[in-house]
Amino acid sequence: MLSWRWFVARIGGAVITLIGVTVVVFIVLRTIPGNAITASLGIESGTLTPAQKASLEHFYGIDKPWVAQLWTWITGALSGNLGISLTSGKTVSSLLRTALPVTVELAVLAAMIGTAAGLLLGVLAGSRPGKVGDSATQGFALLGLAIPEFVLGTAVVAILAQAFHYFPDTGTFVPLTQSVSGNLSQVLYPALVLAVAFAANVMRTTRSEYVEMAGADYVRTAEGKGLRPFRVRSAHILRNAMIPIVTLTGIQFGYLLGGTVIVEQIFALPGLGRLLFTSISNRDYPVVQACVLVIAVLFVVVNLAVDLLYRVIDPRTRAS
Protein backbone atom coordinates (compact mmCIF):
# COMPACT_ATOMS: atom_id res chain seq x y z
CA MET A 1 0.00 0.00 0.00
CA LEU A 2 0.92 3.64 -0.15
CA SER A 3 3.42 4.50 2.51
CA TRP A 4 2.38 7.00 5.12
CA ARG A 5 5.83 8.43 5.43
CA TRP A 6 5.85 9.34 1.78
CA PHE A 7 2.41 10.86 2.06
CA VAL A 8 3.25 13.01 5.08
CA ALA A 9 6.54 14.16 3.53
CA ARG A 10 4.79 15.07 0.30
CA ILE A 11 2.09 17.09 2.08
CA GLY A 12 4.70 18.78 4.25
CA GLY A 13 6.57 19.81 1.10
CA ALA A 14 3.36 21.18 -0.40
CA VAL A 15 2.63 23.26 2.71
CA ILE A 16 6.16 24.72 2.74
CA THR A 17 5.77 25.61 -0.95
CA LEU A 18 2.48 27.37 -0.26
CA ILE A 19 3.96 29.38 2.61
CA GLY A 20 6.79 30.36 0.26
CA VAL A 21 4.27 31.39 -2.37
CA THR A 22 2.43 33.58 0.15
CA VAL A 23 5.62 35.31 1.20
CA VAL A 24 6.79 35.84 -2.39
CA VAL A 25 3.43 37.31 -3.44
CA PHE A 26 3.40 39.53 -0.39
CA ILE A 27 6.85 40.91 -1.15
CA VAL A 28 6.15 41.39 -4.86
CA LEU A 29 2.93 43.26 -4.10
CA ARG A 30 4.67 45.55 -1.63
CA THR A 31 7.26 46.52 -4.23
CA ILE A 32 4.61 47.66 -6.70
CA PRO A 33 4.46 51.45 -6.62
CA GLY A 34 1.32 52.80 -4.95
CA ASN A 35 -0.54 51.45 -1.94
CA ALA A 36 -4.04 50.80 -0.65
CA ILE A 37 -4.74 54.51 -0.22
CA THR A 38 -3.78 55.52 -3.77
CA ALA A 39 -5.66 52.48 -5.03
CA SER A 40 -8.95 53.42 -3.39
CA LEU A 41 -8.74 57.22 -3.72
CA GLY A 42 -6.81 57.60 -6.97
CA ILE A 43 -5.22 60.99 -7.58
CA GLU A 44 -7.28 62.52 -4.75
CA SER A 45 -4.92 60.81 -2.36
CA GLY A 46 -2.47 63.62 -3.12
CA THR A 47 -4.74 66.15 -1.34
CA LEU A 48 -4.79 64.27 1.97
CA THR A 49 -3.38 66.03 5.01
CA PRO A 50 -0.63 64.12 6.85
CA ALA A 51 -3.10 63.42 9.68
CA GLN A 52 -5.71 61.99 7.27
CA LYS A 53 -3.04 59.96 5.57
CA ALA A 54 -1.82 58.54 8.85
CA SER A 55 -5.31 57.56 9.94
CA LEU A 56 -6.02 55.90 6.58
CA GLU A 57 -2.73 54.03 6.83
CA HIS A 58 -3.81 52.88 10.25
CA PHE A 59 -7.25 51.90 8.87
CA TYR A 60 -5.73 49.73 6.15
CA GLY A 61 -3.15 48.37 8.52
CA ILE A 62 -0.27 49.44 6.29
CA ASP A 63 1.37 51.51 9.01
CA LYS A 64 2.54 48.30 10.66
CA PRO A 65 5.80 46.58 9.67
CA TRP A 66 5.68 44.09 6.78
CA VAL A 67 6.10 41.05 8.96
CA ALA A 68 3.16 42.06 11.12
CA GLN A 69 1.02 42.69 8.02
CA LEU A 70 1.97 39.31 6.62
CA TRP A 71 1.10 37.65 9.92
CA THR A 72 -2.29 39.39 10.09
CA TRP A 73 -3.03 38.30 6.56
CA ILE A 74 -2.05 34.66 7.07
CA THR A 75 -4.03 34.28 10.29
CA GLY A 76 -7.01 35.99 8.63
CA ALA A 77 -6.80 33.77 5.57
CA LEU A 78 -6.68 30.64 7.72
CA SER A 79 -9.92 31.64 9.41
CA GLY A 80 -11.56 32.37 6.04
CA ASN A 81 -11.21 36.15 6.16
CA LEU A 82 -9.38 37.22 3.02
CA GLY A 83 -10.03 40.92 3.45
CA ILE A 84 -12.08 43.45 1.53
CA SER A 85 -11.59 44.58 -2.05
CA LEU A 86 -10.26 48.14 -2.17
CA THR A 87 -12.10 49.06 -5.35
CA SER A 88 -15.47 47.32 -5.07
CA GLY A 89 -15.82 47.21 -1.29
CA LYS A 90 -17.03 43.59 -1.44
CA THR A 91 -15.37 40.87 0.59
CA VAL A 92 -12.62 39.06 -1.25
CA SER A 93 -14.15 35.70 -0.45
CA SER A 94 -17.43 36.66 -2.10
CA LEU A 95 -15.55 37.78 -5.23
CA LEU A 96 -13.70 34.47 -5.27
CA ARG A 97 -16.90 32.50 -4.80
CA THR A 98 -18.33 33.91 -8.02
CA ALA A 99 -15.10 33.84 -10.03
CA LEU A 100 -13.71 30.44 -9.09
CA PRO A 101 -16.54 28.26 -10.49
CA VAL A 102 -16.25 29.97 -13.87
CA THR A 103 -12.54 29.21 -14.17
CA VAL A 104 -12.88 25.68 -12.83
CA GLU A 105 -15.68 24.94 -15.27
CA LEU A 106 -13.65 26.39 -18.13
CA ALA A 107 -10.57 24.39 -17.18
CA VAL A 108 -12.47 21.13 -16.64
CA LEU A 109 -14.27 21.45 -19.96
CA ALA A 110 -11.05 22.30 -21.79
CA ALA A 111 -9.22 19.41 -20.12
CA MET A 112 -11.99 16.96 -21.01
CA ILE A 113 -12.09 17.98 -24.65
CA GLY A 114 -8.31 18.19 -24.84
CA THR A 115 -7.71 14.79 -23.25
CA ALA A 116 -10.29 13.02 -25.41
CA ALA A 117 -9.02 14.56 -28.63
CA GLY A 118 -5.37 14.13 -27.66
CA LEU A 119 -5.74 10.46 -26.72
CA LEU A 120 -7.67 9.65 -29.88
CA LEU A 121 -5.22 11.43 -32.18
CA GLY A 122 -2.25 10.06 -30.28
CA VAL A 123 -3.34 6.45 -30.61
CA LEU A 124 -4.27 7.05 -34.24
CA ALA A 125 -0.81 8.45 -34.96
CA GLY A 126 1.06 5.98 -32.79
CA SER A 127 -0.52 2.84 -34.19
CA ARG A 128 0.74 3.61 -37.68
CA PRO A 129 3.97 5.53 -37.19
CA GLY A 130 5.42 7.14 -40.29
CA LYS A 131 2.17 6.98 -42.26
CA VAL A 132 0.20 9.95 -43.62
CA GLY A 133 -2.14 10.07 -40.64
CA ASP A 134 0.83 10.16 -38.31
CA SER A 135 2.50 13.09 -40.08
CA ALA A 136 -0.80 14.96 -40.27
CA THR A 137 -1.48 14.59 -36.55
CA GLN A 138 2.10 15.50 -35.71
CA GLY A 139 1.73 18.62 -37.84
CA PHE A 140 -1.48 19.47 -36.03
CA ALA A 141 0.25 19.05 -32.68
CA LEU A 142 3.13 21.30 -33.67
CA LEU A 143 0.71 23.95 -34.91
CA GLY A 144 -1.50 23.57 -31.86
CA LEU A 145 1.45 24.27 -29.58
CA ALA A 146 2.72 27.17 -31.66
CA ILE A 147 -0.51 29.16 -32.06
CA PRO A 148 -0.76 31.49 -29.08
CA GLU A 149 -4.09 31.42 -27.23
CA PHE A 150 -4.64 35.09 -27.87
CA VAL A 151 -4.28 34.63 -31.63
CA LEU A 152 -6.60 31.62 -31.69
CA GLY A 153 -9.09 33.37 -29.40
CA THR A 154 -9.07 36.53 -31.50
CA ALA A 155 -9.53 34.51 -34.68
CA VAL A 156 -12.37 32.45 -33.18
CA VAL A 157 -14.19 35.58 -31.99
CA ALA A 158 -13.75 37.18 -35.42
CA ILE A 159 -15.05 34.11 -37.24
CA LEU A 160 -17.98 33.65 -34.87
CA ALA A 161 -18.91 37.30 -35.26
CA GLN A 162 -18.80 37.08 -39.05
CA ALA A 163 -20.57 33.75 -39.43
CA PHE A 164 -23.04 33.64 -36.54
CA HIS A 165 -23.15 37.23 -35.30
CA TYR A 166 -21.92 35.92 -31.98
CA PHE A 167 -20.16 38.38 -29.73
CA PRO A 168 -18.63 37.64 -26.36
CA ASP A 169 -21.25 38.65 -23.83
CA THR A 170 -19.79 41.28 -21.54
CA GLY A 171 -23.02 41.40 -19.58
CA THR A 172 -24.11 38.79 -17.10
CA PHE A 173 -22.57 35.35 -16.87
CA VAL A 174 -25.06 32.48 -16.87
CA PRO A 175 -24.08 29.83 -14.32
CA LEU A 176 -24.36 26.17 -15.24
CA THR A 177 -27.03 25.68 -12.59
CA GLN A 178 -29.28 28.29 -14.20
CA SER A 179 -29.24 27.26 -17.84
CA VAL A 180 -27.03 24.61 -19.36
CA SER A 181 -27.34 25.83 -22.94
CA GLY A 182 -26.97 29.47 -21.95
CA ASN A 183 -23.89 28.63 -19.95
CA LEU A 184 -22.33 26.48 -22.63
CA SER A 185 -22.83 29.15 -25.29
CA GLN A 186 -20.53 31.32 -23.16
CA VAL A 187 -18.00 28.75 -22.02
CA LEU A 188 -17.70 26.29 -24.90
CA TYR A 189 -15.74 28.46 -27.35
CA PRO A 190 -13.12 29.63 -24.87
CA ALA A 191 -12.83 26.02 -23.65
CA LEU A 192 -12.21 24.88 -27.22
CA VAL A 193 -9.48 27.49 -27.62
CA LEU A 194 -7.80 26.24 -24.44
CA ALA A 195 -8.31 22.62 -25.48
CA VAL A 196 -6.18 22.94 -28.63
CA ALA A 197 -2.80 23.25 -26.92
CA PHE A 198 -3.94 20.76 -24.28
CA ALA A 199 -4.83 18.20 -26.94
CA ALA A 200 -1.56 18.81 -28.76
CA ASN A 201 0.43 18.05 -25.62
CA VAL A 202 -1.59 14.94 -24.75
CA MET A 203 -1.35 13.76 -28.35
CA ARG A 204 2.44 14.08 -28.43
CA THR A 205 2.95 12.12 -25.23
CA THR A 206 0.36 9.51 -26.17
CA ARG A 207 1.96 8.97 -29.54
CA SER A 208 5.52 8.60 -28.30
CA GLU A 209 4.47 6.34 -25.40
CA TYR A 210 2.30 4.25 -27.68
CA VAL A 211 5.10 3.76 -30.20
CA GLU A 212 7.53 2.86 -27.43
CA MET A 213 5.17 0.42 -25.70
CA ALA A 214 4.08 -1.18 -28.96
CA GLY A 215 7.68 -2.25 -29.56
CA ALA A 216 8.05 -3.88 -26.13
CA ASP A 217 8.71 -7.60 -25.77
CA TYR A 218 5.60 -8.29 -23.74
CA VAL A 219 3.47 -6.84 -26.52
CA ARG A 220 5.03 -9.26 -28.97
CA THR A 221 4.35 -12.05 -26.51
CA ALA A 222 0.71 -10.97 -26.19
CA GLU A 223 0.36 -10.89 -29.95
CA GLY A 224 2.08 -14.24 -30.21
CA LYS A 225 -0.41 -15.73 -27.78
CA GLY A 226 -3.06 -14.79 -30.32
CA LEU A 227 -4.82 -12.08 -28.29
CA ARG A 228 -7.21 -9.94 -30.27
CA PRO A 229 -5.54 -6.71 -31.44
CA PHE A 230 -8.04 -4.61 -29.50
CA ARG A 231 -7.13 -6.37 -26.27
CA VAL A 232 -3.41 -5.96 -26.92
CA ARG A 233 -3.93 -2.27 -27.56
CA SER A 234 -6.11 -1.54 -24.57
CA ALA A 235 -4.76 -3.86 -21.90
CA HIS A 236 -1.11 -4.04 -22.83
CA ILE A 237 -0.08 -0.98 -24.72
CA LEU A 238 -2.43 1.73 -23.45
CA ARG A 239 -2.41 0.65 -19.82
CA ASN A 240 1.34 1.09 -19.69
CA ALA A 241 1.32 4.23 -21.79
CA MET A 242 -1.26 5.74 -19.43
CA ILE A 243 1.18 6.57 -16.63
CA PRO A 244 3.04 9.45 -18.28
CA ILE A 245 -0.17 10.57 -19.93
CA VAL A 246 -1.97 10.87 -16.60
CA THR A 247 0.96 12.82 -15.17
CA LEU A 248 1.01 15.18 -18.13
CA THR A 249 -2.76 15.68 -18.09
CA GLY A 250 -2.71 16.46 -14.39
CA ILE A 251 0.12 18.95 -14.62
CA GLN A 252 -1.48 20.57 -17.66
CA PHE A 253 -4.77 20.86 -15.81
CA GLY A 254 -2.98 22.56 -12.94
CA TYR A 255 -1.50 25.12 -15.31
CA LEU A 256 -4.85 25.58 -17.00
CA LEU A 257 -6.47 26.67 -13.72
CA GLY A 258 -4.11 29.62 -13.53
CA GLY A 259 -3.57 30.13 -17.24
CA THR A 260 -7.01 31.23 -18.30
CA VAL A 261 -6.28 34.96 -17.98
CA ILE A 262 -5.98 35.64 -21.68
CA VAL A 263 -8.95 33.59 -22.80
CA GLU A 264 -11.17 35.00 -20.08
CA GLN A 265 -10.10 38.46 -21.14
CA ILE A 266 -10.91 37.84 -24.82
CA PHE A 267 -14.24 36.12 -24.18
CA ALA A 268 -15.19 38.45 -21.33
CA LEU A 269 -15.69 35.63 -18.83
CA PRO A 270 -15.82 36.75 -15.17
CA GLY A 271 -13.40 34.09 -13.93
CA LEU A 272 -10.40 34.05 -11.65
CA GLY A 273 -7.99 35.15 -14.38
CA ARG A 274 -10.03 38.21 -15.27
CA LEU A 275 -10.55 39.08 -11.62
CA LEU A 276 -6.80 38.82 -11.08
CA PHE A 277 -5.98 40.86 -14.15
CA THR A 278 -8.32 43.73 -13.28
CA SER A 279 -7.22 43.77 -9.65
CA ILE A 280 -3.56 43.89 -10.68
CA SER A 281 -4.23 46.98 -12.79
CA ASN A 282 -6.33 48.49 -9.98
CA ARG A 283 -3.62 47.74 -7.39
CA ASP A 284 -6.29 45.92 -5.40
CA TYR A 285 -3.82 44.08 -3.15
CA PRO A 286 -6.18 41.96 -1.08
CA VAL A 287 -7.83 40.54 -4.21
CA VAL A 288 -4.54 39.92 -6.05
CA GLN A 289 -3.08 38.22 -3.03
CA ALA A 290 -6.08 35.95 -2.56
CA CYS A 291 -6.37 35.09 -6.27
CA VAL A 292 -2.73 34.14 -6.58
CA LEU A 293 -2.87 32.09 -3.41
CA VAL A 294 -6.01 30.26 -4.58
CA ILE A 295 -4.39 29.50 -7.93
CA ALA A 296 -1.21 28.26 -6.26
CA VAL A 297 -3.21 26.11 -3.81
CA LEU A 298 -5.18 24.58 -6.69
CA PHE A 299 -1.97 23.93 -8.57
CA VAL A 300 -0.21 22.32 -5.64
CA VAL A 301 -3.27 20.22 -4.76
CA VAL A 302 -3.69 19.03 -8.35
CA ASN A 303 -0.01 18.07 -8.46
CA LEU A 304 -0.35 16.20 -5.19
CA ALA A 305 -3.37 14.35 -6.57
CA VAL A 306 -1.41 13.46 -9.71
CA ASP A 307 1.43 12.07 -7.59
CA LEU A 308 -1.03 9.97 -5.61
CA LEU A 309 -2.82 8.73 -8.71
CA TYR A 310 0.52 7.90 -10.24
CA ARG A 311 1.27 5.56 -7.37
CA VAL A 312 -2.14 3.97 -7.65
CA ILE A 313 -1.87 3.14 -11.35
CA ASP A 314 1.75 2.15 -11.29
CA PRO A 315 2.46 -0.31 -8.46
CA ARG A 316 6.18 -0.21 -9.26
CA THR A 317 6.54 3.35 -7.92
CA ARG A 318 5.21 2.35 -4.49
CA ALA A 319 8.29 0.46 -3.49
CA SER A 320 10.68 3.40 -3.51
Binding site: P148, Q162, F198, G259, A296
Partner: protein, 299 residues
Protein backbone atom coordinates in the same frame (compact mmCIF):
# COMPACT_ATOMS: atom_id res chain seq x y z
CA UNK B 1 -0.34 28.63 -21.21
CA UNK B 2 0.57 25.07 -21.72
CA UNK B 3 3.12 23.08 -19.85
CA UNK B 4 6.51 24.68 -19.68
CA UNK B 5 9.12 22.91 -21.75
CA UNK B 6 11.33 20.88 -19.50
CA UNK B 7 13.79 18.45 -20.96
CA UNK B 8 13.08 15.28 -19.05
CA UNK B 9 15.33 13.10 -21.10
CA UNK B 10 18.91 14.30 -20.72
CA UNK B 11 21.53 12.31 -22.59
CA UNK B 12 23.02 9.49 -20.58
CA UNK B 13 25.63 11.02 -18.37
CA UNK B 14 28.36 8.40 -18.58
CA UNK B 15 28.68 8.24 -22.35
CA UNK B 16 30.44 11.34 -23.61
CA UNK B 17 27.89 13.35 -25.61
CA UNK B 18 29.03 15.35 -28.62
CA UNK B 19 30.44 18.59 -27.28
CA UNK B 20 28.23 21.64 -27.64
CA UNK B 21 31.00 23.82 -28.99
CA UNK B 22 31.67 21.22 -31.68
CA UNK B 23 31.47 22.67 -35.20
CA UNK B 24 29.95 19.40 -36.37
CA UNK B 25 26.86 20.08 -34.26
CA UNK B 26 25.29 22.56 -36.68
CA UNK B 27 26.17 20.23 -39.53
CA UNK B 28 24.41 17.37 -37.79
CA UNK B 29 21.31 19.50 -37.21
CA UNK B 30 21.51 20.55 -40.85
CA UNK B 31 21.46 16.94 -42.06
CA UNK B 32 18.08 16.40 -40.39
CA UNK B 33 15.26 17.63 -42.66
CA UNK B 34 13.35 19.44 -39.89
CA UNK B 35 16.59 20.77 -38.47
CA UNK B 36 17.58 22.26 -41.82
CA UNK B 37 14.19 23.95 -42.20
CA UNK B 38 14.48 25.29 -38.67
CA UNK B 39 17.97 26.69 -39.32
CA UNK B 40 16.86 28.42 -42.54
CA UNK B 41 13.70 29.90 -41.01
CA UNK B 42 15.51 31.09 -37.88
CA UNK B 43 18.13 32.73 -40.10
CA UNK B 44 15.38 34.41 -42.13
CA UNK B 45 13.70 35.71 -38.99
CA UNK B 46 16.96 37.26 -37.84
CA UNK B 47 17.37 38.93 -41.25
CA UNK B 48 13.78 40.24 -41.12
CA UNK B 49 14.33 41.57 -37.60
CA UNK B 50 17.53 43.32 -38.68
CA UNK B 51 15.79 44.81 -41.72
CA UNK B 52 13.05 46.08 -39.42
CA UNK B 53 15.29 47.67 -36.85
CA UNK B 54 17.68 49.27 -39.33
CA UNK B 55 14.77 50.84 -41.25
CA UNK B 56 15.89 49.37 -44.56
CA UNK B 57 12.32 48.49 -45.51
CA UNK B 58 10.51 50.93 -47.86
CA UNK B 59 8.00 52.17 -45.27
CA UNK B 60 8.29 53.65 -41.80
CA UNK B 61 6.69 51.40 -39.16
CA UNK B 62 5.29 54.29 -37.12
CA UNK B 63 4.43 56.96 -39.71
CA UNK B 64 0.66 57.21 -40.14
CA UNK B 65 -0.91 57.70 -43.57
CA UNK B 66 -4.65 58.23 -42.95
CA UNK B 67 -5.40 58.25 -46.68
CA UNK B 68 -4.04 54.72 -47.01
CA UNK B 69 -5.79 53.16 -44.01
CA UNK B 70 -6.76 49.47 -44.17
CA UNK B 71 -5.36 48.85 -47.63
CA UNK B 72 -5.04 45.23 -48.68
CA UNK B 73 -1.69 43.65 -49.53
CA UNK B 74 -0.26 45.17 -52.74
CA UNK B 75 3.02 46.00 -54.46
CA UNK B 76 3.33 49.14 -52.35
CA UNK B 77 2.22 47.64 -49.05
CA UNK B 78 3.26 43.98 -49.13
CA UNK B 79 1.22 43.00 -46.08
CA UNK B 80 -1.34 45.85 -46.36
CA UNK B 81 -1.88 48.67 -43.86
CA UNK B 82 -3.54 48.97 -40.46
CA UNK B 83 -6.26 51.32 -39.19
CA UNK B 84 -3.81 54.23 -39.10
CA UNK B 85 -2.44 53.53 -42.56
CA UNK B 86 0.81 52.17 -41.16
CA UNK B 87 2.68 49.57 -43.23
CA UNK B 88 2.08 46.14 -41.68
CA UNK B 89 5.18 44.58 -43.30
CA UNK B 90 7.43 47.15 -41.61
CA UNK B 91 5.57 46.76 -38.33
CA UNK B 92 5.84 42.96 -38.46
CA UNK B 93 9.60 43.25 -39.07
CA UNK B 94 10.02 45.60 -36.09
CA UNK B 95 7.72 43.33 -34.08
CA UNK B 96 9.95 40.34 -34.81
CA UNK B 97 12.91 42.41 -33.64
CA UNK B 98 11.06 43.39 -30.44
CA UNK B 99 10.15 39.77 -29.71
CA UNK B 100 13.58 38.36 -30.49
CA UNK B 101 15.32 40.99 -28.40
CA UNK B 102 13.17 40.27 -25.35
CA UNK B 103 13.46 36.52 -25.92
CA UNK B 104 17.25 36.50 -26.28
CA UNK B 105 17.88 38.78 -23.30
CA UNK B 106 15.43 36.98 -21.02
CA UNK B 107 16.64 33.50 -21.91
CA UNK B 108 20.27 34.56 -21.56
CA UNK B 109 19.62 35.83 -18.04
CA UNK B 110 17.54 32.79 -17.10
CA UNK B 111 20.01 30.28 -18.56
CA UNK B 112 22.97 31.94 -16.85
CA UNK B 113 21.49 32.30 -13.38
CA UNK B 114 19.41 29.13 -13.56
CA UNK B 115 22.30 26.93 -14.66
CA UNK B 116 24.63 28.29 -12.01
CA UNK B 117 21.97 27.63 -9.37
CA UNK B 118 21.18 24.16 -10.69
CA UNK B 119 24.76 23.04 -11.18
CA UNK B 120 25.90 24.27 -7.76
CA UNK B 121 22.85 22.70 -6.12
CA UNK B 122 23.52 19.38 -7.81
CA UNK B 123 27.28 19.45 -7.23
CA UNK B 124 27.56 20.72 -3.67
CA UNK B 125 24.24 19.23 -2.44
CA UNK B 126 23.46 19.86 1.23
CA UNK B 127 21.69 23.02 2.36
CA UNK B 128 22.39 24.79 -0.93
CA UNK B 129 20.48 22.09 -2.79
CA UNK B 130 17.62 22.32 -0.29
CA UNK B 131 17.34 26.09 -0.68
CA UNK B 132 17.55 26.04 -4.49
CA UNK B 133 15.09 23.17 -4.81
CA UNK B 134 12.54 24.85 -2.54
CA UNK B 135 12.94 28.11 -4.44
CA UNK B 136 12.37 26.26 -7.71
CA UNK B 137 9.28 24.54 -6.27
CA UNK B 138 7.83 27.86 -5.17
CA UNK B 139 8.31 29.49 -8.56
CA UNK B 140 6.88 26.41 -10.26
CA UNK B 141 3.70 26.76 -8.22
CA UNK B 142 2.79 29.81 -10.32
CA UNK B 143 1.50 29.36 -13.83
CA UNK B 144 4.08 30.97 -16.13
CA UNK B 145 1.90 33.71 -17.59
CA UNK B 146 0.68 34.69 -14.14
CA UNK B 147 4.17 35.00 -12.73
CA UNK B 148 5.27 37.10 -15.71
CA UNK B 149 2.15 39.23 -15.32
CA UNK B 150 2.83 39.83 -11.63
CA UNK B 151 6.47 40.71 -12.18
CA UNK B 152 5.70 43.06 -15.06
CA UNK B 153 3.08 44.90 -13.05
CA UNK B 154 5.57 45.24 -10.21
CA UNK B 155 8.33 46.57 -12.46
CA UNK B 156 6.33 48.61 -14.95
CA UNK B 157 6.29 48.55 -18.73
CA UNK B 158 9.20 48.57 -21.13
CA UNK B 159 11.04 45.81 -22.93
CA UNK B 160 13.74 45.47 -20.28
CA UNK B 161 11.13 44.78 -17.63
CA UNK B 162 9.34 42.30 -19.85
CA UNK B 163 12.66 40.53 -20.34
CA UNK B 164 13.28 40.45 -16.59
CA UNK B 165 9.79 39.08 -15.97
CA UNK B 166 10.28 36.27 -18.47
CA UNK B 167 13.73 35.58 -17.05
CA UNK B 168 12.21 35.14 -13.59
CA UNK B 169 9.79 32.58 -15.05
CA UNK B 170 12.50 30.56 -16.79
CA UNK B 171 15.28 30.65 -14.21
CA UNK B 172 13.78 27.75 -12.19
CA UNK B 173 13.43 25.67 -15.36
CA UNK B 174 17.12 26.01 -16.14
CA UNK B 175 17.93 25.28 -12.51
CA UNK B 176 15.93 22.06 -12.67
CA UNK B 177 17.28 21.00 -16.07
CA UNK B 178 20.91 21.45 -15.05
CA UNK B 179 20.56 20.01 -11.54
CA UNK B 180 19.51 16.51 -12.64
CA UNK B 181 22.48 15.65 -14.88
CA UNK B 182 24.85 17.31 -12.40
CA UNK B 183 23.55 15.02 -9.67
CA UNK B 184 24.02 11.89 -11.76
CA UNK B 185 27.48 12.83 -13.05
CA UNK B 186 28.50 13.96 -9.58
CA UNK B 187 27.57 10.55 -8.20
CA UNK B 188 29.44 8.65 -10.91
CA UNK B 189 32.48 6.54 -10.09
CA UNK B 190 34.97 8.60 -12.05
CA UNK B 191 33.99 11.86 -10.38
CA UNK B 192 34.21 10.18 -6.99
CA UNK B 193 37.65 8.92 -7.94
CA UNK B 194 38.74 12.43 -8.87
CA UNK B 195 37.51 13.78 -5.57
CA UNK B 196 39.48 11.12 -3.75
CA UNK B 197 42.55 12.09 -5.78
CA UNK B 198 42.16 15.60 -4.40
CA UNK B 199 41.39 17.34 -7.68
CA UNK B 200 39.89 20.78 -6.88
CA UNK B 201 36.09 20.99 -7.27
CA UNK B 202 36.23 23.81 -9.83
CA UNK B 203 38.31 21.61 -12.12
CA UNK B 204 35.90 18.72 -11.83
CA UNK B 205 33.07 21.15 -12.53
CA UNK B 206 34.73 22.53 -15.65
CA UNK B 207 36.14 19.31 -17.07
CA UNK B 208 33.42 16.80 -16.28
CA UNK B 209 30.19 18.35 -15.09
CA UNK B 210 29.85 21.22 -17.58
CA UNK B 211 30.31 19.16 -20.76
CA UNK B 212 27.66 16.72 -19.56
CA UNK B 213 25.18 19.36 -18.52
CA UNK B 214 25.59 21.67 -21.50
CA UNK B 215 23.62 19.48 -23.90
CA UNK B 216 20.27 19.64 -22.08
CA UNK B 217 20.85 23.34 -21.38
CA UNK B 218 21.42 24.15 -25.05
CA UNK B 219 18.25 22.29 -26.04
CA UNK B 220 16.34 24.04 -23.28
CA UNK B 221 17.62 27.41 -24.52
CA UNK B 222 16.02 27.02 -27.96
CA UNK B 223 12.75 25.79 -26.45
CA UNK B 224 12.74 28.61 -23.90
CA UNK B 225 13.32 31.12 -26.71
CA UNK B 226 10.16 29.97 -28.44
CA UNK B 227 8.14 30.16 -25.23
CA UNK B 228 9.63 33.56 -24.45
CA UNK B 229 8.34 34.84 -27.79
CA UNK B 230 4.89 33.50 -26.92
CA UNK B 231 4.99 35.09 -23.47
CA UNK B 232 6.27 38.43 -24.75
CA UNK B 233 3.52 38.67 -27.33
CA UNK B 234 0.89 37.54 -24.79
CA UNK B 235 1.96 40.26 -22.36
CA UNK B 236 1.93 42.86 -25.14
CA UNK B 237 -1.51 41.63 -26.16
CA UNK B 238 -2.74 42.27 -22.61
CA UNK B 239 -1.23 45.77 -22.78
CA UNK B 240 1.54 45.00 -20.29
CA UNK B 241 4.51 44.57 -22.62
CA UNK B 242 5.70 46.80 -25.40
CA UNK B 243 3.83 50.09 -25.44
CA UNK B 244 2.45 51.87 -28.52
CA UNK B 245 3.45 53.29 -30.92
CA UNK B 246 6.37 50.80 -30.95
CA UNK B 247 5.39 47.83 -33.05
CA UNK B 248 5.01 44.49 -31.33
CA UNK B 249 3.37 41.35 -32.64
CA UNK B 250 1.10 40.94 -29.61
CA UNK B 251 -0.10 44.54 -29.79
CA UNK B 252 -0.77 44.20 -33.52
CA UNK B 253 -3.01 41.20 -32.85
CA UNK B 254 -4.80 43.15 -30.11
CA UNK B 255 -5.37 46.07 -32.50
CA UNK B 256 -6.53 43.70 -35.21
CA UNK B 257 -9.52 42.69 -33.08
CA UNK B 258 -11.33 45.82 -34.27
CA UNK B 259 -10.37 45.56 -37.91
CA UNK B 260 -10.09 41.86 -38.75
CA UNK B 261 -13.74 41.59 -39.84
CA UNK B 262 -13.05 43.82 -42.83
CA UNK B 263 -9.27 43.53 -43.15
CA UNK B 264 -8.01 39.95 -42.63
CA UNK B 265 -4.39 40.95 -43.19
CA UNK B 266 -4.23 42.99 -39.98
CA UNK B 267 -4.48 39.77 -37.97
CA UNK B 268 -2.97 37.23 -40.36
CA UNK B 269 0.54 38.58 -40.83
CA UNK B 270 1.52 39.35 -37.23
CA UNK B 271 -0.07 36.05 -36.15
CA UNK B 272 1.88 34.15 -38.81
CA UNK B 273 5.12 35.78 -37.71
CA UNK B 274 4.63 34.55 -34.14
CA UNK B 275 3.63 31.05 -35.23
CA UNK B 276 6.52 30.69 -37.66
CA UNK B 277 9.03 31.88 -35.07
CA UNK B 278 7.71 29.50 -32.42
CA UNK B 279 7.64 26.50 -34.76
CA UNK B 280 11.13 27.21 -36.10
CA UNK B 281 12.66 27.42 -32.63
CA UNK B 282 10.81 24.30 -31.52
CA UNK B 283 12.10 22.33 -34.47
CA UNK B 284 15.58 23.68 -33.86
CA UNK B 285 15.31 22.43 -30.28
CA UNK B 286 14.22 18.99 -31.50
CA UNK B 287 17.06 18.92 -34.02
CA UNK B 288 19.62 19.90 -31.40
CA UNK B 289 18.26 17.30 -29.03
CA UNK B 290 18.75 14.45 -31.46
CA UNK B 291 22.11 15.82 -32.63
CA UNK B 292 23.34 15.97 -29.03
CA UNK B 293 21.93 12.61 -27.99
CA UNK B 294 24.81 10.11 -27.82
CA UNK B 295 22.38 7.20 -28.18
CA UNK B 296 21.45 8.45 -31.63
CA UNK B 297 24.84 9.70 -32.76
CA UNK B 298 25.51 6.46 -34.61
CA UNK B 299 22.57 7.07 -36.90
Amino acid sequence: MSVLPVVTDPPAAAAAPPAVGDAGLIRRVWRDRNGAVALVVTGLLIVVALLGVTGLLPHDPIAQAPADRLQGPSGTYWFGTDQFGRDIAARVAVGVWTSLRVAVVSVAIAAFIGSILGISAGFFRGWLDQVVSRFVDILFAFPAILLALAVVSALGNGWQNTAIAIAVVYTPIFARVSRGPTLSVGASEYVKAQRVLGIPPWRILLRHILPNVSAPIVVQITLALSWAILTESSLSFLGLGTQPPTASLGLMVADARDTVATAWWTLTFPALAIIVAVIALNLLGDGLRSALDPRRSGQ
